[in-house]
């Protein structure tokens, strides 16, 4: 039972359109399935003979249930159907087993997809190198013909594939799937092409940079005012920047995203990687759910993580899982710099030093404290305008820090 709608959890098999024993080809409509939204067509994912229908018309089955078997005419399918009790619309008569085989009785421990035993199925045989290269180049292995044994896709097959083949029939799109904390976005043809072309042009991560100079006068005043309340209220510029970045990311999931080769994963939660210089190099501990944390909590957590990072006491789970990162060299007097993206993250923000400088406000030149931020963007995920909008939100938050408590 395929997920034919994003929210579907089970489907009712309305009717079979192919009888047992019928030859089917990839893309043929096998059956009609009623989802939570509509009656949809269930299509074959491979060529062969519909050897068995395992779910009766009218029966309801959860996603992942084995509905039937497509195989070669003489192929032994006993192992596939052996452990599966047939699903009937009502309790099966004369069922010898003590548990009547009802629709709800079928709950496989692991979701089993529609099983296709020919090599035409969703499983694509490919060498590890071919998989890695395809991911790097944004190629869809489904669209490539393998020249190795059993149709295995090997490196040379990728070398002859310039662009993803235009499918005669619609290619099985990567479905939009959602977990609790993220949404996977299927790649459109244009997004696929952008990804491939840009990666060819500039390397594995096609990066571009956006720089903005932010006015931090109010931010500095706020910090000063907080410090005057006592040591408990001292926060760094970086702490406020982190809070603002996390808040902005929560509003821009298109930036709070990972590039996964065949799809883009946008995160609903904001886990902010904070680059910390240590003697051996660099490590990026993570402030989880940074957008939901109070400034005070972020300040304390970052201080604590940095201390332990320098002592090399961080646990792996404390420096993995970030959705976006921030690197700050302002304290070293760096005005502006570009940071390297930490794949598969789609962006990183490089924070420069706060510096008093003359700026034009209205018609007058006045001295204002300013700070330059530079965002490195993976162009496969973030377009120029997307990044600019995110920076606009960030500017609004940094220049009006009271919004952070709003």
């Amino acid at each position: 039972m395929e997920a034919l709608s994003p929210t579907m959890e089970e489907g009712r098999l309305v009717r079979w359109l192919k009888p047992e024993g019928a030859s089917v080809a990839n893309g043929d409509t096998l059956a009609e399935v009623e989802t939570d939204k509509a009656i949809m067509e269930l299509v074959a994912r491979g060529d062969g003979v519909l050897r068995r229908q395992l779910v009766a018309e009218g029966a309801t089955a959860p996603i992942g249930t084995l509905l039937g078997v497509i195989a070669a005419p003489n192929e032994d399918i006993a192992a596939l159907v052996g452990g599966v009790a047939p699903v009937s619309a009502s309790a099966a008569p004369n069922a010898p087993s003590p548990a009547p085989a009802t629709a709800t009785a079928v709950a496989p421990e692991a979701p089993a997809p529609m099983v296709v035993t020919t090599s035409e199925g969703d499983r694509v045989r490919s060498s590890p190198l071919a998989r890695r290269l395809a991911a790097e180049r944004g190629l869809d292995l489904h669209a490539i013909a393998g020249s190795g044994p059993n149709g295995r896709i090997v490196k040379r097959d990728l070398d002859t594939t310039v662009a993803p083949a235009t499918p005669a029939a619609p290619v099985v799109a990567v479905p939009v799937t959602a977990g609790a904390d993220y949404t996977d976005i299927a790649l459109t043809q244009i997004r696929r092409t952008i990804a491939r072309r840009l990666a060819e042009s500039i390397g594995p991560v096609p990066t571009f940079y956006l720089t903005a100079e932010l006015d931090v006068e109010r931010l500095s005043e706020m910090r000063k005012a907080m410090a005057e309340l006592g040591d408990d209220y001292k926060v760094s510029v970086n702490d406020i920047v982190l809070k603002a970045t996390a808040t902005a990311l929560a509003q821009h999931p298109e930036v709070n995203a990972h590039w996964l080769g065949d799809r883009i994963r946008q995160f609903a939660r904001v886990h902010l990687g904070v680059a910390v210089a240590i003697d051996e190099g660099l490590i990026t501990p993570v402030v989880f759910d940074a957008d939901k944390k109070r400034l005070r909590d972020i300040a304390r957590e970052v201080r604590e993580l940095a201390t332990r990072a320098k002592a090399r006491k961080l646990k792996p789970e404390e420096y993995t899982g970030s959705t976006f990162s921030v690197s700050n060299l302002g304290m070293f007097g760096i005005d502006q710099f570009t940071a390297i993206i930490n794949p598969p993250e789609a962006g990183i923000l490089a924070i420069g030093a706060v510096e008093a400088k003359p700026v034009v406000v209205g018609e007058a030149v006045v001295v204002r404290r300013r700070m330059r931020v530079t965002m490195s963007c993976d162009h496969r995920v973030i377009d120029g305008a997307t990044g600019a909008k995110f920076l606009a939100t960030l500017r609004r938050l940094i220049e009006n820090p009271l919004l952070l408590v709003y």
Binding site: S127, P128, L129, A130, R131, R132, S147, G148, P149, V154, K155, R156
Partner: protein, 327 residues
């Protein structure tokens, strides 16, 4: 550079190290008066006398044990086995005494000993005298195992073996003694544990060692005529193994064939394949293939022996398979 035989290269290494350190002495069957069964010790008795070039009875276990004992009290013995096939009798001393003494004495006794001699098959010596023991010996913690395939490596590795403070196994080749190669003049030492890229190519990697280096080079020459360029990684030492050199080559070529003289099961090649799958998984474009001796005792009949041995033709076929050429 002098063009000399593998035999003379070993002889030079022995002579130079005996001149360099008077604790070094040679012991074995026929090494002194007869000048060595394969003339590796030619002239050494005359130069160093019978206290340092010692003929033994046909008692492999006995003289291996004398060697271990002398190493415990400060000498640096070189024990020659007429062939490693005979050394099976001495393995108790090699494995249970030499390899474990430092460990079991809590660090009190280093055993700076070299066990050396020809290993593997020659021509029609039949099943008992045609065996390659690399994987047996490399299996033992406490031993180092070097497998020189060229005169230069034979000289350089034997010198390193003699200078090493631990037991080192030197596996030579009867069929190699007469081969010639360039050996650098003057002091020439090859470090233990460092592989050598004997030939450079970008299409596939052949990992090999010892006598099979020559086979790999023949295969590489033939493949070059079909525009297939291979890296030949000569391990030179099979314990410890130069994993970095293997990985560097496979990451470049994405394909590997492991060629060894011995049998398949638990052979040296199995270990090489394990390193490759661990270090290079995402770089592999094809399964790693192995070329090795057929899984039988070595036949005596000439045609059957030829069929059982790994050779250039089998290596070429394997390289083509990992490149998805032909079948």
């Amino acid at each position: 550079m002098a063009l000399i035989t593998y035999r003379d290269a070993l002889n030079q290494a022995l002579r130079e190290e005996m001149q360099r350190d008077d604790r070094v002495f040679l012991m074995g069957e026929e090494v002194a008066v007869y000048q060595g069964a394969y003339k590796v010790s030619k002239g050494l008795l005359q130069e160093f006398g019978e206290m340092r070039v010692v003929d033994t009875p046909i008692t492999e276990l006995g003289f291996a044990g004398v060697g271990v004992g002398s190493a415990m009290v400060g000498l640096r013995p070189i024990v020659e086995f007429m062939t490693w096939n005979f050394a099976l009798l001495a393995l108790d001393q090699v494995v249970n005494a030499a390899a474990k003494m430092l460990y079991m004495s809590g660090g009190q006794y280093n055993i700076p000993i070299v066990f050396r001699g020809p290993n593997g098959a020659a021509l029609q010596l039949a099943a008992q005298h045609s065996q390659a023991w690399e994987s047996w010996l490399a299996h033992i913690p406490g031993l180092k195992v070097v497998v020189p395939g060229t005169p230069a490596d034979a000289k350089g590795l034997l010198k390193s073996a003699i200078r090493d403070d631990n037991p080192v196994i030197v596996l030579e080749g009867e069929m190699l003694y007469n081969t010639r190669g360039e050996v650098p003049d003057g002091e020439h030492v090859v470090p233990i544990g460092v592989a050598d890229l004997k030939r450079e190519g970008d299409h596939a990697t052949i990992v090999t060692s010892g006598k099979m280096v020559l086979v790999a080079m023949q295969a590489a020459d033939a493949l070059a005529k079909e525009d297939i360029r291979v890296d030949v990684v000569d391990l030179r030492t099979v314990r410890p193994m130069d994993v970095a050199a293997i990985a560097a080559s496979v990451k470049k070529t994405n394909r590997a064939v492991v060629l060894e003289e011995g049998w398949e099961l638990a052979g040296i090649g199995a270990q090489v394949v394990d390193y490759i799958q661990r270090e290079c998984f995402d770089d592999l474009d094809a399964p790693v293939l192995r070329v090795h001796q057929a899984d039988t005792p070595m036949p005596y009949a000439k045609n059957l022996e030829r069929a059982a041995k790994p050779d250039a033709a089998k290596t070429i076929a394997a390289v083509k398979r990992v490149m998805y050429r032909g079948n």
